[in-house]
């Protein structure tokens, strides 16, 4: 008699275990079914947030020392200031490693505004390469000396780029924000520069990206300054300008490390995420930054347990992972796939339950 009760408990537990195992198996099956088109970590591109054949062609030509496609791409971007600053960044990053072709370009076309702004921005990239990404206390005096020296050179280069640029072009101004950050410029100086940027392009995505970095606690601002800046930008920008991204970025930068996992589900965060979703839906399809927003949205939605919505974003950007938050990790592709799998399993479990 006394043996019956433990036995019953054991049998019941076994039943539950078998059931949950079966469910897990089914969920796994469903997950692999709905995630069939998604790529494994080793096939994720870690150089870009989205495919960009034009940029790839430009870089391929630069590797051969041919600067003409770069010049043509910049000319083709014309007054699409989002595309222009994006391309300048890509080309300049390459010039920070080796600028032989850039010198050829400048020699062939003296006074070319495109080459001038690439030259200046390359100095900033170069300076950052010299500094390295470590905290100030772990950065040697030699690195800092080179960092400041090259940044100071870049100031002159930017002055030249400004003088050569189209009067309505915000690029040489907005690309100076990281320079101001590195040289520890006072707040008033950035306000002055910011007026020059917004006069030319009030809702420029990359300008806001850099400015938010400046106002962040890790550079020249604070948690509150960054939050206020991002909220103000998101509130005043027209739909489709993607500036609703920045309250999310600010929150992620200042809270992700310490906040509890459920913090992403708090009403404040959910509202910010919904605003960004609406903004993305309104953005023009060719916006060079839309993929970046989708990446961060996919992360936030997963954290909020909104797996189906997260998967929708994952599907649209899968294959390229050079974006927040993945890029902050040692192995971005691996972390991306890990979060994506969480979303996949969550969605599958929801389907079984539903």
């Amino acid at each position: 008699m006394s043996g019956i009760i433990p036995l019953t408990i054991l049998v019941v537990m076994l039943c539950f275990w078998l059931r949950s195992r079966r469910r897990a198996k089914r969920a796994e099956g469903i997950a692999s079914e709905i995630g069939a088109g998604l790529l494994p970590a080793e096939r994720q591109n870690t150089d870009r947030a989205a495919p960009d054949p034009e940029a790839e062609a430009v870089l391929a030509a630069l590797s051969r020392g041919d600067w003409l496609p770069a010049a043509q791409a910049l000319a083709a971007a014309g007054t699409d200031w989002e595309r222009r600053s994006y391309l300048v960044g890509i080309v300049a990053a390459r010039a920070a490693d080796d600028d032989t072709w850039l010198r050829a370009w400048q020699a062939a076309r003296p006074g070319d505004p495109d080459a001038a702004v690439v030259h200046a921005d390359a100095k900033v990239s170069l300076a950052w390469q010299i500094r390295g990404g470590a905290w100030a206390k772990d950065t040697s005096a030699e690195r800092f000396e080179g960092f400041h020296r090259v940044l100071n050179e870049a100031r002159e280069d930017f002055a030249r780029a400004e003088a050569l640029a189209h009067p309505g072009d915000p690029t040489p101004y907005l690309l100076q924000i990281p320079l101001y950050m590195g040289l520890g410029a006072p707040h008033e100086a950035l306000h002055g520069l910011w007026a020059e940027v917004t006069k030319r392009a009030p809702y420029h995505y990359e300008a806001h990206w850099y400015a938010l970095q400046f106002w962040s606690a890790k550079w020249r601002g604070s948690k509150d300054l960054a939050r206020d800046f991002a909220a103000q930008a998101a509130a005043t920008a027209p739909p489709g300008s993607l500036l609703t991204m920045f309250p999310l970025v600010s929150w992620y930068e200042h809270n992700d490390d310490e906040a509890p996992a459920e913090a992403y589900g708090w009403p404040e965060m959910t509202a910010l995420t919904d605003a960004a979703l609406a903004d993305v839906a309104m953005a023009r399809p060719g916006h060079p930054r839309i993929a970046e927003v989708r990446h961060l949205l996919a992360y936030c939605l997963t954290k909020q347990g909104r797996y189906e919505a997260a998967l929708e974003q994952f599907r649209m950007v899968d294959g390229h992972v050079e974006a927040l938050p993945w890029r902050y990790y040692g192995d971005p592709a691996e972390f991306y796939c890990h979060v994506r799998d969480v979303a996949l399993k969550g969605a599958a479990a929801a389907r079984i339950a539903g």
Partner: protein, 552 residues
């Protein structure tokens, strides 16, 4: 009397310190007794040795054992027979301050004056008095200003108001000495441990094993633990008594005003702040200029040369500015001195005593046989290594010192040229080889042989170049200087109004305005050289300006 209750409190605090010391010693002795009663002899011996080692700093600090004279600073004593005027002045000042004159007067090399007293019986009985006077003060102050400084120091001995507060001063010295004794023991111990571990590491390496690295974290721990109660007490003590210390300073200032006059005292404080900066500057830029080259200025000039700097009209106006703005040093709760600016403000707020700060003799006039005293001061204050150095007259010293610096500065680049296989041996030949490399696009190949930090060695592309650029530019500049000396007879010239500059013999130079005095041409030459070096080492090198400069 407001000082008395505070002084009494200080006395109690000092007694408390001795209580701590006695308690610690009691514990140590107790441990010994216990060990000898209950432990086997070897353990007891070990315990005794340890307690003796630990107890020594306590004894030494609290009861000033093994202190010798109590003051071991290096100084040149001057007797009354040698310096009757100086002694006469000090005696007269002591009389007017109402205190006993010092028993010794000693000269030191700093911008400072100080008094000390070998007090006995826990600092309750007076002892032998010493007055230290910094020679730079003699060189930079007027006679009334020096009177004020000495009167201030004597005021520390004799202020009737603060006689009891003297215990505080002695107490502070005592507390700090004990803490200092512990720190010194700990340092020595860690030093020993470090060299022992380094030796062990070297041995391991010789045997082909991996070195363990040096870790002295635990060594000296015993001393640190022992010092803890004393340090805590010292902090407490200093916080409580620093107010008294500040009051003593202000009282000494009042004494100085009474004896030497308001204006002389205020101007002396301002002058000392400026003199301090001038002395540091003189020591690093002039007196020690040739140390790398193994050279010192002529005998007596190491301390005496400051007079030349102070006499220079351009330096004088720079110093006048310094006198106007007093250093706004931050007030620390442990500092016994109120900020100088505060002291000057208080003094200048006193009513005019009509004595003014008339132009008066420089204080150095009090010293007999000045040059001989300055030379003897060097014998006392300089290290044997420094005394063994060659002496050179200022112009020669400047040129040889800078030539050595240029040689040392160009060294790594010349080694790199040699490694690249293009060195020629002479400085101008090496420079030409470097410029040829730049013109043929091999500049960074050569620069690649310069010594690199680990960061620089890891960098690639343009970043690698930027890591090397400062060393390349500096090396090229130095090499160009050497080449100019070699080929154009350039030389470095010392000036008391500005830094040492490289100059070309007048006629050989064509870059400046025709007929302009040499003084104005020279800066152009250095700027032109720097610009030419930058052009030659730029990403798109242009060696023409440097070649032109060198062809003269």
């Amino acid at each position: 009397m407001s000082a008395s209750p505070r002084a009494l409190r200080a006395l109690v605090l000092l007694a408390g310190f001795y209580l701590v010391a006695l308690a610690v010693l009691g514990v140590l002795v107790g441990a010994d007794v216990a060990a000898w009663i209950w432990a086997p002899a070897p353990v007891a011996i070990k315990v005794t040795v340890i307690t003796a080692l630990l107890g020594y700093p306590v004894l030494r600090g609290a009861f000033a054992l093994g202190e010798g004279s109590g003051d071991e600073r290096e100084a040149l004593p001057v007797t009354e027979a040698e310096q009757p005027e100086l002694w006469g002045t000090v005696r007269a000042l002591a009389e007017r301050s109402g205190t006993r004159a010092p028993d010794e007067i000693l000269l030191v090399g700093e911008v400072n004056a100080a008094v000390s007293e070998d007090a006995r019986l826990l600092g309750l009985l007076p002892g032998r008095r010493r007055l230290y006077i910094g020679v730079p003060l003699l060189a930079g102050l007027s006679e009334p200003q020096l009177h004020s400084v000495i009167a201030h120091e004597l005021g520390h001995y004799g202020n009737a108001d603060t006689r009891l507060a003297g215990i505080t001063r002695r107490g502070r010295d005592c507390v700090l000495r004990t803490v200092g004794a512990f720190q010194e023991r700990e340092r020595k111990r860690i030093g020993k441990e470090r060299s022992r571990q380094e030796k062990a590491d070297a041995k391991r390496l010789r045997k082909g094993k991996k070195a363990r690295g040096v870790d002295t974290g635990r060594t000296g721990l015993r001393y640190r633990v022992m010092a803890k109660p004393f340090q805590a007490y010292a902090r407490f003590y200093l916080r409580v008594t620093s107010g008294v210390g500040r009051q003593q300073e202000l009282a000494a200032d009042r004494m100085a005003v009474r004896v030497a006059g308001r204006d002389a005292t205020a101007s002396a404080l301002r002058e000392i702040a400026a003199l301090d900066a001038a002395h540091d500057f003189y020591q690093s830029r002039y007196a020690m200029l040739g140390v790398e080259a193994g050279l010192l200025p002529p005998r007596g000039e190491v301390f005496g040369g400051l007079r030349r700097l102070l006499a220079d009209p351009e330096r004088r106006s720079a110093l006048a500015e310094l006198r106007g703005e007093l250093p706004a040093d931050e007030e620390s709760p442990y500092d016994s001195h109120p900020p100088v600016a505060e002291r000057v403000r208080l003094i200048e707020a006193l009513p005019d005593d009509g004595r003014g700060a008339d132009p008066a003799r420089p204080a150095l006039a009090l010293l007999r046989d000045t040059e001989r005293v300055l030379a003897r001061l060097e014998d006392v204050l300089l290290t044997p290594e420094a005394l063994a150095m060659e002496r050179a007259e200022w112009p020669e010293l400047a040129h040889r010192a800078m030539y050595t610096r240029a040689t040392v500065g160009a060294g790594p680049l010349r080694t790199a040229l040699a490694t690249a296989g293009v060195a020629s041996g002479s400085a101008s030949g090496d420079l030409t080889a470097l410029l040829d490399s730049a013109d043929t696009g091999r500049l960074w190949l050569v620069a690649g042989y310069l010594p690199k930090s680990s960061d620089a060695a890891r960098a690639t592309g343009r970043a690698a170049r930027e890591f090397l650029r400062p060393a390349l530019e500096a090396g090229t500049y130095r090499l160009a200087e050497l080449a100019l000396v070699e080929k154009a007879g350039a030389y470095w010239e010392l000036s008391w109004s500005e830094r040492v500059r490289l100059r070309l013999p007048g006629a050989a130079y064509s870059g400046g305005t025709q007929g302009a005095p040499d003084m104005e041409k020279a800066p152009d030459m250095e700027e032109a050289l720097a610009a030419a070096v930058r052009a030659a080492t730029a990403d798109a090198p242009d060696t023409a300006p440097l070649r032109t400069l060198l062809s003269h």
